[in-house]
Symmetry: C2
């Protein structure tokens, strides 16, 4: 499974209800990683880990349950960088990752250590161990880092360009291409096609591996009724000249996936999706409860194995 953050994590939760964890490999975006306060922060890896561990704060919708904010309060006292909230419990993950990186451990190794410490049985792979950074060009400001756009500006500014810095020189992480070659089914998660799935495909070898697996690949649309369930995917698609609809998503994914799963709310667009050269399946995709995620995962698996 090609994964961004929240949407991917929810889908994975469903998937783990219907297949053995040992049979699942999540290839996760690292292009929204950021170094702040000297700490290496990998938001998508952590969202996947915390969600699958059942450790997230359900009410807040992000971060860890039982979180406290003593360190952030101290940062504010100093007038430090406070636009990226880091909870005290969450800090442990970034501190551990940073320490292990400084000892020479690879991000893949560290990710395995972290996911095992949370009791997860699936394989979680950073898409690359090389530096890969989504840079966003926004109106009036020029190019800024992804987290500065996403968190710092709360993705409320107009985007005129996206670039994956370091992609050309990046190598797919250990196990990533093998996982794509050997998978019975490849799933493209309902994540932002531009800034969550885009960076994965920009790592040399990944797009080719997905294209080679096209007949076994199923994408899940993150756009429902023209809008993103979460985040700026809809606006970003429009601002970058795509259509913010399942048809727009179909155009992006048709070269990569044999099937696009859309929400039943968009069932009327099924024909238009198929006209883009991708099989279309309409079902419930809004994973507000575990049962929906499990059913969606089951659908994706059966479509990918057709």
């Amino acid at each position: 499974m090609l994964c961004g953050g929240v949407g991917a994590a929810r889908f994975l939760s469903g998937l783990l209800q219907v297949v053995e964890a040992a049979d699942v490999t999540a290839v996760v975006n690292t292009a929204d990683d950021v170094v702040l306060h000297g700490l290496h922060i990998s938001p998508d890896l952590d969202t996947v880990t915390y969600t699958l561990a059942g450790a997230t704060d359900a009410e807040r919708g992000w971060g860890l349950a039982g979180e406290t904010w003593q360190a952030m309060e101290g940062i504010r006292r100093y007038g430090g960088i406070d636009w990226f909230n880091l909870g005290d419990r969450d800090l442990a993950t970034h501190m551990y990752r940073t320490q292990r990186l400084s000892e020479g451990a690879t991000l893949a190794t560290i990710t395995r250590e972290i996911t095992r410490a949370w009791g997860l049985g699936l394989v979680v792979l950073p898409v690359t161990e090389d530096r890969l950074r989504t840079m966003v060009t926004v109106v009036d400001e020029g190019e800024i880092g992804f987290q500065e756009y996403f968190v710092g500006r709360q993705h409320s500014v107009e985007v005129t360009g996206v670039r994956f810095d370091g992609a050309a020189d990046a190598t797919a992480g250990p196990g990533v291409l093998d996982a794509l070659h050997e998978a019975d089914v490849v799933v493209i998660a309902p994540s932002n096609p531009i800034v969550s799935i885009g960076p994965l495909l920009a790592v040399p070898g990944v797009r080719d591996a997905v294209v080679a697996a096209r007949s076994r690949t199923v994408a899940v649309s993150p756009i429902v009724g023209g809008a993103a369930l979460k985040g700026p995917a809809d606006r970003m698609l429009r601002e970058l000249g795509h259509e913010s609809s399942v048809v727009g998503v179909a155009r992006l994914y048709a070269p990569l996936a044999a099937t696009l799963i859309i929400d039943e709310a968009d069932a009327g667009s099924a024909e238009a999706v198929e006209a883009e050269g991708i099989r279309c399946v309409a079902t419930s995709t809004i994973m507000s409860e575990p049962g929906v995620a499990a059913a969606l995962a089951r659908t994706a698996l059966s479509e990918g194995a057709r």
Copy 2:
């Protein structure tokens, strides 16, 4: 004032009761700094700051009041480095310092920002902005970093050598030599002579500046009745061939200070101290309450101004 950690901080608390904060400059040891989890930790600077801000946990005797340990608990979950306890509130200081260093700010600038955020009016100067690290050779293990000795082994292993890595190439921090040249009185704090005051004197120019100010310099013995009030100064003095007594301290400081203040418990050794070529004053030095620290500071000032 030449400062290590706790003893220096307590003396400074007393000093600030008897002189204007703006007239006090603390030159603080940075050789027990350590980078852990990617964070630049300056224990002596922080001990001085937190103590003078009245923010320390009186019962525990170190660290911040109201501290929590969520990050450390997470580090333990991961099997990470947990021998150096870092509270959630305390982490803010290390995170801020690390971020500012990464932005190119100097340690002196950052220290000024931190002390001002805590409302302190004195000048706190890192002895150097260069990398200076106390390395301790211990029996059976060889050379280890100071914090690995002090915290990791709880200073319970025998020391056969101490070295200040980086000292030869270090430059005194901005304002340090000027402060020593211009001070009406120079105080050598009741800190460990080997590993707290030693590194300050190892920075080129500092020892010479103290020697030049010898007639105005007053040292306070950290050894009372042959023992250190806190930490391993007594054992370390013996293990490295010195005498763990006020006479041993007198031998170390006679070239640097005109006066040594010893505790009244050691008043019987006053003559032996003066035989080492340093004037001796016996008074209460155990700063268990603010009144004692203030009186001690007053004594030091009047002796230094004689």
